[in-house]
């Protein structure tokens, strides 16, 4: 860091609250790297100009966190054809409250907008909100809306719309897919308040340092809709006004949909006339259609099966490091893995590095059986999960010398079948006979034991999408059920863990988060309710004549700046 211009820093300080100034202090004192400062700064509401000015005042050069996309020269007009899978039953009507899979998310990005935008470098950018600030303990967050924002019918986006949208999503009676995200964000019904037409305040149940992510594109269900909308269940055919660059023209739940340019779009007008989404489930068919030029973009593809796209110089490969991952849960409360030593043994018998190098061809990062991925600054330098077959066998000899049989449940998507076979082979080394059942009803019956009719499973694989912060991963799948662990497939209940997560969630500075994160990682590696061998890159493909298409690790495909030459 070069010479520090304290006068310039003080000028910026005066515009910030206590938490903003704390982040500035950490950066000036050298406890935050430039990258981490940019990221923390965007979370607590520092604007990009202010961040750039602070970096310059500390002797660096002003910088932008957005990357320029390159490709063919932009041309106006045309239809962009995106291949995506058929949305799940919950997503079939494109109801923003219910959408629960990547195939539904592809749509939300075309016509929906969020208060904030989670970017691929894990920073936050404004979208419908231009600025946001916390109070002194981060238990209240105030968002300013962009006064220029308006819907496709020309009406403005106002605070009452945000209140109505968020209240619908936090209402437990609405079967909202984002309920767990808002529980993580400590936001309850009645907590969203319109201060004036352009100002919204979120009064949280407890301090939450990463709250702006809870209303970002990471929480994909939270697209803002007009307050007048009371029923979203038939969204695909309801002509509900939206604020995004495109709007739905036609929709067929089997074939796909066409979206046309929003004539009242308040941002830069899209170059494309239309975006067409075609439902193609089979990867081979998708790749063949892409190679023949019938489709322009494949929204997402796995490394396994997608090799012909990865190694093809004629393909515009879009690869985004993400925190998307698979959680392999081992039920802690009963059954085959009730003994902690059996869980530890299983975890130690899986070679994470060779999975990344071999199975994923390096298109992933090694993880250590906790949701603290290396991408998250708050992860700090947590302990690595040891691959040690001898130690694993010794643990199994103590826990279950005769081995045992167990069924691994999951569903057929992406790399899951291959991952399941790897787990099966690791089990074989320890005398664990793993039978694999891939079922369409995994999420209905064999994921979480909701009640007597849903048995859950002793061993299962669940796919999790990208998040810009680890909060959702730490809460819903791992907290004790009475503390909000609604996706707790491992039935993990540990008071020390719950307390450590509470500390982490309420921390607003990176050092405190890292301290809590270290404790969490130690507990998770010791108790081993989950195996998380890696987090994988988000892979998408576009034709060479397509430019301006951007993706997010969560699965959004943004066509706002796309063009087709």
């Amino acid at each position: 860091m070069g010479k520090i211009n304290f006068r310039r820093i003080d000028a910026i300080r005066q515009t910030q609250g206590q938490i903003g100034n704390h982040v500035i202090d950490e950066f000036v004192s050298g406890r935050l790297s430039r990258r981490d400062f940019i990221r923390r700064g965007t979370i607590v509401g520092l604007s990009f100009p202010a961040i750039g000015a602070l970096i310059a005042a500390c002797g660096g050069s002003e910088t932008s966190t957005t990357a320029e996309t390159t490709g063919a020269a932009p041309v106006a007009g045309g239809t962009l054809i995106i291949a995506s899978g058929t949305p799940s039953a919950a997503s079939a009507n494109l109801d923003p409250v219910a959408i629960n899979d990547g195939n539904g998310i592809v749509f939300l990005a075309q016509y929906g907008q969020w208060l904030t935008l989670s970017q691929n470098d894990l920073t936050l950018a404004g979208s419908l909100a231009t600025e946001w600030v916390p109070n002194d303990d981060a238990s209240e967050w105030t968002f300013k809306l962009n006064p220029a924002a308006k819907y496709s019918d020309g009406s403005p986006v106002v605070a009452a719309d945000v209140v109505a949208t968020i209240e619908r999503l936090v209402n437990p009676d609405n079967a909202s897919n984002s309920l767990s995200a808002f529980q993580t964000g400590k936001l309850s019904p009645g907590g969203t308040i319109a201060v004036d037409d352009n100002t919204v305040m979120f009064k949280l149940d407890a301090p939450m340092g990463n709250f702006p992510y809870i209303v970002s594109s990471d929480n994909y269900n939270a697209i803002i809709l007009p307050a007048s909308v009371t029923d979203t269940t038939k969204f695909a055919t309801s002509n509900i006004p939206t604020s995004g660059p495109f709007m739905i023209e036609s929709y067929d739940a089997v074939k796909g949909a066409t979206m046309v340019r929003n004539p009242n779009y308040w941002g830069t007008a899209p170059l494309l006339d239309k975006v067409e989404v075609q439902f193609i489930d089979d990867l081979g068919a998708k790749v063949t259609a892409f190679q023949s030029g019938d489709i322009d973009v494949i929204a997402q593809f796995p490394v396994i099966g997608g090799e012909s796209l990865i190694n093809n110089p004629d393909v515009n490969l879009i690869e985004i490091p993400s925190t998307a991952h698979y959680q392999i849960h081992m039920r802690t409360s009963k059954g085959a893995f009730a003994d902690k030593r059996a869980r530890q043994a299983m975890s130690m018998a899986i070679d994470h590095q060779s999975m990344v190098d071999g199975l994923l061809q390096g298109k992933a990062q090694v993880a250590n059986d906790t949701p603290f991925f290396t991408m998250f600054p708050s992860s700090g330098s947590g302990p690595a999960r040891e691959f040690n077959l001898e130690k694993a066998k010794a643990l199994m000899a103590e826990a279950a010398p005769d081995g045992f049989d167990v069924t691994l449940y999951s569903w057929q998507t992406q790399e899951i079948p291959d991952l399941a076979v790897l787990v099966q082979n690791a089990g074989k080394e320890l005398g664990i006979n793993v039978k694999i059942e891939l079922r369409d009803d995994y999420y209905d019956s064999y994921w979480v034991s909701w009640d007597a009719n849903t048995p859950g499973s002793d061993l299962g694989i669940t796919d999790y999408g990208h998040r810009g912060v680890p909060d959702v991963f730490l809460n819903a799948p791992l907290l004790s059920v009475d503390k909000g662990g609604v996706w707790n497939a491992a039935e993990f209940a540990n008071a020390d863990y719950d307390a450590a997560v509470a500390t982490y969630t309420s921390s607003v500075d990176l050092q405190s988060q890292q301290a809590a994160a270290l404790k969490i990682q130690e507990i998770l590696q010791d108790e081993s309710p989950l195996m998380i061998p890696y987090n994988f890159n988000f892979m998408s493909a576009a034709q060479k004549n397509i430019s301006g298409v951007t993706n997010s690790g969560m699965g959004q495909v943004y066509a706002e700046n796309a063009s087709k030459s």
Binding site: V287, S308, S354, D357, L422, Q424, N425
Partner: protein, 286 residues
């Protein structure tokens, strides 16, 4: 003292056996089926690599490289071992399902052909309805509702083949029922069961054997089709249909061996069975 040896006339079944043993297609077909039967019973005699053993850094090793005669698949597993071990499931399920179908079909066909009248009318209408349903679709439905284990697959394929076999057997029985030996048995007071199973059945054995071999080929295809779409086998199983499904996208990267080798194995088994069926049909028709 000398004695003249008279040539002893062969019985029809002896003549049939003799003709079959002189048939090259029959011998070739049997050779193929015998090879896959040995693979299914004792694969360890032919290959010594574990078909499930993964070596991720040896993904897609070309054939005849690093000691892998037929290369490796996307998980670095030996393609040759998987092709040999892959015969196990299909060589058990397909014959078992066919035997079940033949047993049920023969009983139904005998009853329809011999008892006739109301029994024939009712069973014929039911069978016509069943035959009109596509085998793979009905199998899919059944396996979705029921547990898709081995026993269910055998039961479903056997149940779906039984009406087809019953029709063939019925036709054969109709040709026999008015012959003298049947009349004699009836006049001597034998009951219907005796006439059907002791008198008629041995005389329609030829068509039944032909039907068995033809249906066996179809059973192999049906089983492979079901495992291709994910029924009856676990992920990672070396079963041919499953492997073709799992490895099919490798073709897009010009990696042909993980999917084409099991396809060739499957084709060779079906062709072998059909060669046997053709040879038997030729002899029966003479």
């Amino acid at each position: 003292m000398t004695s003249e040896t008279q040539p002893i006339a062969k019985t029809p079944s002896q003549e049939m056996r003799s003709q079959l043993l002189r048939s090259k297609t029959f011998l070739l077909g049997n050779l193929g089926v015998a090879f896959w039967a040995i693979c299914a019973i004792a694969p360890g005699l032919i290959v010594n690599r574990d078909p499930a053993e993964q070596n991720l850094i040896k993904k897609w090793t070309h054939p005849f490289t690093d000691g892998f005669v037929l290369g490796t698949d996307r998980s670095g597993r030996d393609v040759l071992s998987r092709a040999i071990y892959g015969a196990r499931e299909i060589m058990f399920i397909a014959p078992a399902a066919t035997i079940l179908g033949v047993v049920v079909g023969v009983m139904l066909g005998l009853m329809m052909g011999y008892l006739g009248r109301v029994v024939d009318d009712i069973l014929s209408r039911i069978i016509e309805a069943l035959i009109s349903l596509p085998v793979i679709l009905v199998a899919l439905l059944a396996l979705t509702v029921l547990d898709a284990g081995r026993a269910t697959i055998i039961g479903v394929i056997g149940f779906l083949f039984a009406p087809l076999i019953a029709r063939t057997v019925r036709a054969a029985v109709l040709a026999e029922r008015n012959l003298d030996y049947v009349r004699c048995a009836e006049l001597s007071g034998e009951n219907s069961l005796y006439v059907m199973f002791v008198e008629i059945l041995p005389n329609i054995f030829g068509p039944i054997i032909v039907e068995f071999t033809v249906r066996l080929g179809y059973a192999v295809f049906t089983m492979a089709g079901l495992s291709f779409i994910g029924f009856g086998t676990q992920p990672g199983s070396p079963d041919w249909g499953r492997t073709i499904f799992d490895e099919r996208t490798s073709l897009l990267s010009n990696v042909w061996w993980p999917s084409i080798i099991p396809a060739i194995a499957l084709a060779s088994l079906v062709v072998s069975i059909n060669l046997i069926a053709d040879a038997i049909q030729g002899v029966v028709d003479k």
